[in-house]
Symmetry: C2
DNA sequence: CGACTTATTGATGCACTTCAAGCGACGTGG
DNA sequence: CCACGTCGCTTGAAGTGCATCAATAAGTCG
């Protein structure tokens, strides 16, 4: 349950027990953060790196006219600012969506970790690159797809990302976002999100109630939005496009 | 002229002569590439890192329906894939816009450079983070601004980025993009680009002819689109948002 | 020079926004 | 316990920013 990060990283790299132990050493730093709380704000000088162990968070900017644009979602196992923390000043905000368990790690601790554990270093680097690839795909999503495919694409992406950290059961996962959150993510109005969800429900592609999203037909939803998972650079999963490795399937238990 | 990279990096880090020499050592690998030529394609396994010494290039994806989405512009001094090259497989394409001078650097050479020159390493890391910040801002741009402000924002960004590598004279810079290029960047139609440019010309904010863009009133254009340069994380320039340092203003000459 | 690409302009259509009203769920305080 | 306000969602009606289609003009290159 707490090991979302290790699970995710082991998608890229096969760790030794020492590697895992080094990562688990951060566990005592875990703290609980309420929903709708900023972890760091634009203009702040970043001190700690934030790791989400449980719950959902996001990266966002507020424009002069008050408009909010969400640029990333963070789910369990995600670092919010592994890279960003080297910059002198935050150019955006990071805040929680739902209540979260967050680990704050001093940058020095990260440096030491990287100095000692090359496999972990490689895996973290890989993660950072995948995060950037996701950001690129979001640009494609907003720039090139219309509302219904845009939202369907997001649902597919979250399914795969949450699956790698064991947060999916029978194609269902927690979905604490409001329609306004989705709107500010997709560059659409909240009204349009409502209408689009209605359409996706009508097509029997999804259900969404009590903050739980269920994808009724994954293949059909992927086809609907032209989802290509290559940008997630997954390995060892049923979605990677590579040969599935059966002896890793026992990793899947939450 | 060839030292766009060093100029850009010295925006972040003060180098020693040895640092500069190490960077200049790649110069012999320079090759000329024609306009509209792919440097690397989706599906390829990346070998070399590409550095643009002269000309403009871009990062893009092609969707199943043939739609192109441009995700980044590269100008002199930019690495196209400093990060990406660690991934197993390209999830997008990189191609030139205009004729370019490109340096192809084996990843091993980058590793060696980083092992020996910590200042250069820091500067390259910084660059990579700024590139990601630019990507985030593009998402904001497409997601939250309407056509005219979107394009104005791009013009402002290019002005600053090109200024740091000495490619701007009297608020004019080379602009080899077609209107279709801009359209595929902004998630708009090429017709809309044409109309928007007409509007920006009418407002006497810009002129654009013979592939040269001139910004007639920088402050007004910035105000027009609400441009905030903080995401470029510039130092030592008249745009940084920090107190201007008068004795550095001589840097401005192209 | 002729062939092709790029840019411009008008007419029409549509995807999405904005505005507004209503509704249910939830929490708070009297 | 109910009254009340707030928040999130839904739905309709009207408006608009931009897309699409199509024709012409201007620029570019072998």
């Amino acid at each position: 349950m707490q090991d979302a990060l290790i699970r995710k990283l082991e998608n890229f790299e096969t760790f030794t027990a020492a590697d895992r132990a080094a990562l688990r050493a951060f566990a005592p730093r875990t703290r609980q953060v309420g929903a709708r709380t900023d972890l760091i704000r634009e203009g702040d000088t970043p001190e700690n790196v934030h790791l989400i162990l449980d719950g959902y968070a996001c990266r966002y900017k507020i424009l002069p006219d008050g408009q909010r644009q969400i640029m990333a979602f963070f789910v369990p196992g995600d670092f919010c600012d592994l890279n960003v923390f080297i910059l002198d000043q935050m150019d955006h905000n990071i805040g929680t969506i739902s209540p979260c368990q967050v680990v704050g790690i001093p940058r020095q601790a990260i440096d030491e970790l990287m100095a000692q554990y090359p496999l972990v270093t490689r895996a973290l680097l890989w993660c950072a690159l995948v995060d950037e690839a996701v950001l690129r795909e979001w640009l494609v999503n907003i720039g090139s797809r219309q509302a219904d495919q845009r939202i369907a694409h997001l649902f597919c992406e979250l399914l795969l990302r949450l699956e790698t950290v064991g947060r999916v059961t029978e194609n269902s996962y927690a979905f604490p976002f409001t329609q306004t959150d989705i709107a500010d993510t997709m560059g659409l109005s909240d009204v349009q999100i409502s209408r689009t969800l209605r359409e996706l429900r009508r097509l029997e592609l999804i259900t969404l109630k009590h903050r739980v999203l269920t994808i009724l037909d994954v293949e059909q939803l992927k086809a609907y939005c032209g989802f290509n998972p290559n940008y997630l650079h997954l390995r060892n999963t049923r979605w990677s496009g590579r040969r599935q490795v059966p002896w890793l399937s026992d990793v899947q238990e939450g």
